[in-house]
């Protein structure tokens, strides 16, 4: 069976601390929210339900589901698709071929073209559709406190990178900071996985709630967990065959 990378998230281990989201932002140099785009490749659905004395609070970590039948790939209009499936099942995005039409974002059941207008909790695909280059704060030349603080641009220049803590990784399909006008999304840290490392969100999780591996390999950790517990996947009814699965949801809360 062909390789299919996937992730299992153990909801009883996850405490919703947000380490995964921060680890992702530092690893992939994603920018701050702007123009209805989250740029959070790793994000959360927070849900508060019920009334006292039966309230419940759920935090579900979300990321690109790397669907086996990825609608974003189908929607990509470019010949030799800019959004494509790799041999190991990662939904990969090539930023040279991407024209920024956002058809992928519209097609993806887990994305919104504007999270504010659509009142969406998250969007796994983001698009830098603004007129400014990414990381506006690090390109800003105005001093925050006049005559006192350095501007974002000065700090970035002194640090030798667009953002002072930029992680300059190299990947043939991707630049470590994506250009203006293109979409971007989680790539399962393909640049790390290629070196035999775990995606950074997995490595950073203090509760070891995220388990990453080849779900088609029966001997892998995620495959064993999927066999042991009944997994739940987001929006399974869309039949996109997502490869991020959740196990051991708390019974007390509502459905996830």
């Amino acid at each position: 069976m062909a390789k299919q990378y996937g992730m299992v998230i153990d909801l009883q281990k996850c405490v919703g601390c947000g380490a995964c989201a921060l680890a992702c932002k530092t690893e992939n140099n994603t920018q701050a929210r702007a123009n209805g785009q989250t740029f959070n490749w790793a994000d959360f659905i927070y849900r508060e339900e019920g009334k006292f004395p039966n309230p419940s609070y759920t935090a579900i970590p979300v990321l690109c589901n790397h669907c086996a039948d990825a609608p974003c790939v189908k929607a990509c209009p470019v010949k030799n698709k800019a959004m494509y499936k790799t041999a190991d099942g990662i939904t990969m995005h090539n930023d040279e071929r991407c024209i920024g039409c956002r058809r992928c974002q519209k097609a993806c059941p887990y994305s919104a073209t504007d999270v504010i207008k659509d009142n969406a909790a998250y969007s796994v695909i983001s698009c830098n559709n603004g007129t400014a280059a990414p990381h506006a704060a690090s390109r800003d030349t105005t001093e925050m406190i006049k005559g006192c603080t350095a501007s974002g641009a000065e700090t970035a220049k002194a640090a030798g990178a667009v953002i002072p803590n930029q992680n300059k990784y190299a990947h043939p399909d991707y630049e470590s900071i994506r250009k203006q006008g293109l979409v971007e999304k989680c790539i399962f840290c393909a640049h790390r996985v290629a070196k035999g490392e775990q995606p950074n969100c997995v490595a950073a999780c203090p509760a070891k709630a995220r388990i990453f591996g080849d779900v088609n390999d029966a001997a892998s950790e995620p495959a064993k967990l999927l066999k042991k517990y009944k997994p739940m996947r987001l929006k399974e009814e869309k039949k996109t065959r997502p490869n991020v699965a959740y196990i051991r949801a708390f019974k007390g809360g509502g459905k996830v």
Partner: protein, 308 residues
């Protein structure tokens, strides 16, 4: 016998930029302009734009019909124009007629309407197109196209006021003079040759047959650039004639959702986003009428039509 009897160009006369091709940008695009005009059946579009180097003879007809510069001539046209401007009655020839031509294109099939208008406007007197070796050339299929282009331009009054363009199909019709080096014209030719050398240096060497532009980048095809330069140096009345002949307009129906997909797919940057959910701005000078926006629009809201 020299090989000029059999010589033709080849695929190296083309500069291919796949990211501009309508078929590459939008896999559902029905554009087949290059395939339809190619007399050697060397263009294949099924799996993206590919050219068979064994069949291509460098007739450059595809470069004259590609609306977006995915296929362009691999030479510097400004050098050619500079060479022609050094003589009062220049002869423009091809690979086969190098010996008796003042300027050279690989094949005159590459003279698009835009090229012809630019030539007519930037030269004075009489320009002879050297077609004396066209008969028997594998690329002779370009002849009717070139005749038709000239006729269309004449009809539209777009050759008025420029040099006259004459297609010479037999050797007797060609009045070829090498650059004169008489005393009076010495300084003049010295100046123009300096200018020409500068152009050659500035243009650098463009020997590669492939150009890579990012898909999201916008680039105006050379033909349109030539046209727009000519437009900037022309009278109001001539500009309006050019508009009628070369320009397009777009209209947006009410079904437009302001998704800006057309802005992204447009290869030349003629559609520009004003804000994230309104109808985009249209810049007529940058539109070459490829029609990709209209093909691409999910809502069927975009229509493109000629100005006339």
């Amino acid at each position: 016998m020299t090989d000029s009897e059999t010589v033709t160009g080849n695929m190296d006369d083309l500069l291919v930029d796949s990211s501009r091709c309508l078929r590459m940008r939008y896999s559902e695009s029905g554009c087949r302009r290059c395939q339809d005009i190619c007399p050697h059946r060397s263009v294949k579009l099924e799996n993206g734009l590919t050219i068979n180097p064994e069949h291509c003879c460098g007739c450059l007809l595809c470069t004259a019909v590609c609306p977006v510069g995915a296929l362009e001539q691999n030479n510097d046209y400004s050098v050619c124009v500079a060479q022609l401007s050094r003589v009062p009655e220049p002869v423009l020839g091809c690979n086969r007629t190098k010996e008796c031509s003042n300027g050279i294109l690989a094949c005159l099939g590459g003279l698009s309407e835009e090229h012809l208008v630019t030539l007519s406007k930037s030269l004075s007197g009489k320009l002879t197109l050297n077609m004396s070796r066209c008969s028997g050339c594998p690329n002779s299929a370009m002849l009717p196209y070139l005749r038709q282009r000239l006729a269309l331009l004449l009809g539209a009054g777009l050759l008025d006021g420029g040099c006259s363009i004459f297609m010479a199909e037999s050797a007797q019709d060609i009045n070829y003079h090498d650059e004169s080096v008489g005393r009076r014209s010495f300084f003049k030719s010295f100046r123009t040759s300096l200018f020409q050398s500068a152009v050659v240096i500035l243009s650098g060497s463009n020997q590669q047959a492939e150009r890579r532009t990012e898909y999201a980048g916008k680039r105006l095809p050379l033909r349109r650039e030539l046209l727009n330069n000519t437009r900037n140096n022309s009278s109001q009345e001539f500009v309006s004639r050019m508009q009628k002949h070369f320009d397009y307009s777009v209209s947006f129906a009410e079904t437009c959702t302001g998704c800006q997909g057309c802005v992204a797919i447009c290869p030349t940057g003629a559609l520009q986003a004003e804000s994230s959910d309104t109808i985009p701005n249209f810049i007529q000078e940058l539109c070459t009428g490829c029609g990709l926006c209209s093909e691409f629009c999910l809502d069927g809201a975009l229509r493109i039509y000629t100005v006339e």
